[in-house]
């Protein structure tokens, strides 16, 4: 169980909701806010958001599970998302993913035991010109190779 949303977060949610004609319309920005504050959206958060926006929790879950950018469980401090789509695959993302798995000792979708890294694959980051590429949290890294990845990860706290 994670702690309840703080009063400050709740206030921000109210503020976001007030910008829309119906509270339900604020669902996406509100979920982004909650994820930003808590790191992920579990059933508990779904219910809290549903309550604040006066909608059924099942509707929140539909949205949370539809969009892959919402995390349903806790992710590590560094959320690594490697593109596995066409351009990146052609330029060797598969072997980079294997390299990351070996280096971190985890499978895709898993988090290291020290909760530092979570490894995921995504379908296209919209940066094919830098293929193969990945995101770590909100930063882009392109034209990757194994050394470059080692370098990037080793420099993370």
């Amino acid at each position: 169980m994670s702690p309840e949303l703080t009063d400050q977060t709740k206030k921000k949610i109210e503020e976001i909701a007030s910008r829309y004609a119906s509270k339900e319309a604020a669902l996406l920005p509100v979920l982004h806010l909650v994820q930003h504050e808590k790191g992920f959206i579990s059933q508990q958060e779904e219910k809290q958001v549903a309550h604040l926006l006066n909608i059924k929790p099942i509707k929140v879950k539909e949205v949370v599970t539809f969009y892959t950018m919402f995390n349903q469980k806790e992710v590590g401090k560094y959320h690594i998302q490697v593109c596995s789509n066409l351009s990146c695959s052609l330029l060797g993302s598969e072997s980079l993913i294997d390299h990351l798995k070996n280096k971190l000792g985890i499978e895709i979708g898993e988090t290291t035991s020290d909760k530092k890294f979570t490894l995921m694959t995504v379908e296209c980051l919209g940066a094919c010109e830098q293929a193969p590429c990945m995101m770590i949290n909100f930063d882009y890294f392109g034209n990757l190779d194994k050394e470059k990845i080692d370098n990037i990860l080793d420099n993370l706290e």
């Binding site: 929790p57 099942i58 539909e62 599970t65």
Partner: protein
Amino acid sequence: MAKILIDERECDVAEGTTILKAAESAGLQIPHLCYHKAFMPEGSCRMCLVEIEGLPKLELACSTQVRDGMKVSTKSESVIEARKGVLECLLADHPIDCPICDKAGECKLQDYYEEYGLFESEFNEEKEKRQKKIEIGKNLLHDQERCVLCRRCVRFLDEVTKTRELGVFQRGVHAEVATYDGILVDNNYSGNLAELCPVGAITDKDFRFKTRTWFLQSRESICTLCSRGCNIYVESHQGFSRFSLPKRVYRIQTRENQMINGFWICDKGRYDYSYLDQERLDKIVVNNSEDPQSWQEITSIVAGEIGRLFHMKRSSHIGLILQSWLSNEELFLIDKIFRNDINIGKISFLDPPEESSDDFLLTAERTPNRRGAKEIGFDLQPADWEKFLEDVDLLFVFASPIKGDTDFSPLKAALDKIEKTVLFASHNHEINSLFDMVLPMSLIAEKGGSLTNIVGSVQGFSPALDAPGNCKPAWQFLVDLAKKLMINFDFYNQFSSPESIREVMKKEIPYFREEHE
């Protein structure tokens, strides 16, 4: 108005009509899975693609509105090709387990494959394995492999019951319909989901593996379990020549009537149908003996008893206890015979007690025709039974077909003391043995007539089932009895059917003229 051309057929439709509706009004069917008249177009199944002259791509018939002068083709080569493509994609992710699917025979996906598909499968890959038996409601099971994600179930729970127990989670190939946080579909309209599902993804536990749909005979009827008068189909199985079946009725389905029940029926009306088959009384019982006695003999005996008291000017000693399971026509005949002709003076209703209504279709009244009885002029207040039965010598009782529905205990003590007691019953019941004569009656589903629902709509009905054994519709017995009584022979001699009774009833009681139909 917009004038459009669909497959060379001209149709004039109101501005804003969708192509699909316009086509249907012109008698052209456009295949669709997700679209349902009850809801806004969803546009997710892509089965209804049509070609519109001047537009580069095919458009959805369910959600595209007509424009004046539009030329639509529902049968062009590209449309047929597109339909095949859509079906191929839907079936690539479908288990095609029709031989064990309850929906087979009435499945839209199956029908459309026959009609528009008929391709060889090129899908050599392994099919997605998903769960095939998830409990999603008290009466419902969900097969995720068969689901085509039309969201009809979700929309029903969103818009009609507003309970929203189901949602679509995940996306793409992983998308699935499921419940949330263990909350099952548990509302009084859940059964509609199995019927609404265009494929066999949601199936009804009550019907599951019981029979195949093509064995069922579907006949129009009216639900009698409350006073709403929802329009239904009674679906029965005639049995096989080599062996008979333990029951006739396998399910009740909705029948659209926008004035009464829209597209839906409640779960009580859908599932509580066992009374149609179970514990039926189908023989005449006199003094607790089933020794064969014909209706003719019985009618003579009953007429004799009434006549005797009538001619002795003791009509006031005849008592009649009714239930509003009787049709308008039957209540009209009872009113004519017992109040007008014989003037028995002691008529009262003993209906089952009211239960809670659900503020949608299910009403508090648990009999179908209290309003009809009221319009014919009966007082529906139950009598002070002790006083009512005090000096009764001849008692007629019409009993409820539902066991335990009505409390007959106020009558029990008095029955012994009454000289002659006659029960009209459709079922075996402990009170039957307390009567001198028990006469088997047809149910509403087994006869013709009309009922007046809670808001005063008069609805006609025809037999959906054959009457079992020696059962007789009450109207038939009443006409025969009245003719035997010879008090007003010519009046009753004109009645050969419920319709003929209704014609006269319309003339005599202003309420039953056309406007309430």
